[in-house]
Amino acid sequence: MDILVCILLFSGLFFLTAGSIGILRFPDFYSRLHPAGKLDTLGTLLALMGLALFSLHHFSLGALLTSLKIMLIIIFVFVASPTATHAIVDAGVRAGLAPWTKGEKRR
């Protein structure tokens, strides 16, 4: 059980870290949203799943309620985060921001 929690947490943290590095390293607005949208969502999901499992460690009704709440958060993050990323991309397109192509300078 503990090992599973650890694996989940660490993989979540790995994706979050990778996402942060990606935000810094990618060349332009749209490609930066790629790590920001996907990796953050996945990292949060995994980390929260780990926490939900961890709270079931000592099983009781209260602990079950807590992990249910965490599961609810997971669902909402899963809905909200891609929508938000989509909204930002949409705004970028409407503002007339051209995507980066190979050979251009970083923006």
Partner: protein, 275 residues
């Protein structure tokens, strides 16, 4: 100006550092702040008000008078934004735009012309852009849950972190989310300006009115134990119920103020289109 700013900043900072040397260390359990008044609140909150969340009992009862003015500050901010920005009685623009909902065809009308009254056309603005389907659906999915959570936060402020301010802000955020994901006109159809502007003082008046009710029942202002005779409970639970009453007032006031400020600032007082 930069050099003057730097000099002033350094002098002030040095003075504050000089004063901080005499302060108790961080997280010191024996500092005067932790030993003089706070033990009273922690140890007697349950006995006095039967509220397990000490912050709530302190906020809405022991120092409820502060909180009443805090709510008034929020109301004032909404009112100031309104009085500064709202352009009332604005003329109708010369051309109006309508959109046929089913086909997406946009119709532009000169002044004086009318379209056949039907459900098929909706009024739009000059800078209107079609709301994105994904965003619309995503937000429509989230808003009911956000509002439900807000009500939970208001109602559960007695025994978990939360209360009127937090819940009110979340409630306001749900309406603002509607305005962002669709457009301001849609949000205004749900919450009309007049409703917002009247509910806001009503919310604060619920707070002040609860206090005044206590005064009329013969005790001091905001002494909720006076409500015991009205609510038919003992004075200690009366305090708990009084706190709930004022939290509801705060929630209403904060929610409407957030919406009010958003409406005014995002449309610069014209109320035609949001961001």
């Amino acid at each position: 100006m930069k050099i003057i700013g730097l000099i002033i900043t350094i002098i002030t900072g040095a003075f504050l550092v000089y004063a901080a040397v005499d302060f108790p260390a961080w997280a010191d359990p024996n500092s005067p702040a932790s030993t003089y008044l706070s033990p009273y609140f922690i140890e007697n909150s349950m006995k006095d008000t039967s509220v397990p969340n000490f912050v709530t009992s302190l906020l809405a009862d022991y120092r409820g008078f502060d909180t009443m003015f805090e709510t008034t500050v929020i109301f004032t901010a909404g009112l100031v934004c309104f009085i500064l920005l709202r352009i009332s009685g604005g003329k109708e623009p010369e051309t109006r735009h309508y959109r046929h909902v089913l086909t997406g065809v946009t119709v532009t009308l000169k002044e004086g012309r009318k379209i056949p009254a039907s459900e098929d056309f909706e009024r739009i603005d000059d800078l209107w852009t079609p709301p994105d389907l994904i965003i619309k659906t995503g937000c429509r999915l989230m808003i009911p849950f956000i509002q439900l959570f807000a009500l939970y936060v208001i109602a559960h402020g007695h025994s978990s972190p939360g209360g009127g301010f937090q819940g009110g802000v979340i409630l306001g955020a749900s309406i603002i989310l509607l305005a962002i994901s669709h457009d301001l006109r849609t949000a205004l159809e749900r919450m009309r300006e007049k409703v917002v502007a009247i509910l806001c003082p009503v919310g604060v008046a619920i707070y002040a009115g609860t206090g005044t009710l206590c005064l009329l029942l013969g005790l001091n202002f905001l002494d909720y134990s006076a409500l015991a005779s009205v609510l038919h409970v003992d004075p200690i639970s009366a305090r708990s119920h009084g706190i709930l009453m004022v939290e509801i007032g705060v929630g209403i006031a904060v929610m409407t103020t957030m919406i009010w400020i958003y409406n005014n600032i995002s449309s610069a007082g014209k109320y035609n289109q949001g961001l």
